[in-house]
Amino acid sequence: MKSKSIKEKVMHIVFLAAAMVCIMAVVLICVFLLANGVPAMGKIGVFNFLLGKTWRPGQDIYGILPMILGSIYVTAGAIIIGVPIGIMTAVFMARYCPKKIYAPLKGAIDLLAGIPSVVYGFFGLVIIVPFVRDTFGGSGNSILTACVLLGFMILPTIIGVCESSLRAVPEEYYQNALALGATHERSIFKVVLPTAKSGVLTGVVLGIGRAIGETMAVIMIAGNQARMPKGLLKGVRTLTANIVMEMGYAADLHREALIATGVVLFVFILLINLCLAAIKKGVEQ
């Protein structure tokens, strides 16, 4: 008995330590970001930093509004493209898909989730960039290209979460709707899908998180010009791209300004997590 209780205590400490690693990581990242980023914001001026329209490190002008807008535009575009396709695919997989097609389709979507983002970038570079250039003009490295590629990239996230929430809706909802004379389609879209609403929203918000944090694929196809976004077919630089492009050679205030860019990104992710928490809370009520 005694040896068992010692063993339990030891294991208790081991588990606690494991949990602490996770918390420590988050705390350390927060401390590092804030300690290095916030003073830079002070030096540049919070207003000048967040709302400045010009980013010219050579002249010590650090305004990241172009990058904030760039991230928001690209993410919004990815949502516009990815969400409808993702939800429709999830509905198809949960309610329409013949058994024979399901396994390969599910496999393909899981594979899509596992492809490294640099490979997505290559795909964009070789296929989407030339397509956009030939169809709509411009150089092809543009907001539109980034939206399309990110739209693809967030599909597995949205499909996975939506499908499982659709499957969690009791079959009786569907039968009750059918028994009122509704068609298969109407029963699914007006009754089953709204019942799964919170799950669908969770999928969308996770997709937003994925899109806003994506770096490598975006750098390869978005053009990365640090200027205010001028149009769908013009190049754009996102917050993530800004950090990666310049971190290698930046020093002093420039370097700190890039870390401050990371702080802004961090705040975005924090907001997204708050949204998720709010959705979950809404479900419990």
């Binding site: 028994a179 009122l180 509704a182 009754v191």
Partner: protein, 249 residues
């Protein structure tokens, strides 16, 4: 007047034969009750009347089912059938939306868009389900926030809002307390003036209280079918007598 006429109805689930050649005439504007032990085919029979059995994988239906003389299994629009033949399930299951939208779902499905027409249908249906006075100030509240008995009456109102001719009820009170059950029974008695009602029940007193005709099912066959009063007082078949006196089941 005859509403449904069934000839030699046989239903299989895979290799299992759930109904074995049933002939029955279900009268209009009366309450027909189905009694019998669990697994005897009552619910299967009920689901043949609005073709909900179509959803069950491996289910095959043979024989003829006619509604007002039309064969509902032969080139008949199943959505129209389910509009004419409404159904109330065992478990009350309002959709996750307001009461108003729950009741209006059916009429909207069948193309009614005007707000005033929908308002009228909602009020009428809720009144028929004796729920209007209880909920008229709370029509925008989530239907799931009401009690089980109220939810079941919401489901009845939702089925009535489609303006069906027949109402199928699959043990509609088995999940409810005696007071809610009493209310639902009152609703059903009132409804028979306008609708033909078929009700599956495990509660024999309920069958006696509300139904005009009763069918006794056993192992996929109809043992006896006739006026409720006669069936319960002078059953013709020995097995019926044994069941209603509680000797098995």
């Amino acid at each position: 007047m005859i509403k449904f006429e069934l000839k030699d109805l046989e239903v299989f689930y895979g290799d299992f034969q759930a109904l074995k050649g049933i002939d029955m005439k279900i009268p209009a504007n009366e309450i027909t009750a189905f009694i019998g032990p669990s697994g005897c085919g009552k619910t299967t029979f009920l689901k043949c009347l609005n073709r909900m059995n179509d959803l069950v994988e491996g289910c095959r239906v043979y024989g003829q089912v006619t509604l007002d003389g039309e064969d509902i299994y032969n080139d008949y629009d199943v959505n129209l059938l389910r509009k004419r033949v409404g159904m109330v399930f065992q478990k009350p299951l309002p959709f996750k939306m307001s009461i108003y939208d729950n009741i209006a779902f059916g009429p909207r499905t069948h193309g009614i868009r005007s707000k005033s027409a929908l308002d009228e249908i909602v009020e009428q249906s809720l009144t028929q389900a004796t729920l209007w006075d209880e909920v008229k100030d709370r029509l925008n509240m989530d239907a799931l926030s009401f009690s089980g008995g109220q939810q079941q009456r919401i489901c009845i109102a939702r089925a009535l809002a489609v303006r069906p001719e027949v109402l199928l009820m699959d043990e509609p009170t088995s999940a409810l307390d005696p007071i809610s059950t009493g209310k639902i029974e009152e609703v059903v008695m009132e409804l028979k003036k306008k609708y033909s009602i078929v009700i599956v029940t495990h509660n024999m007193q309920q069958a006696v209280r509300i139904s005009d005709k009763t069918a006794f099912f056993l192992l996929g066959e109809v043992i006896e079918f006739g006026d409720t009063e006669k069936l319960f007082s002078v059953p013709k078949d020995k097995r019926t007598e044994e069941y209603i006196t509680g000797r098995f089941g």
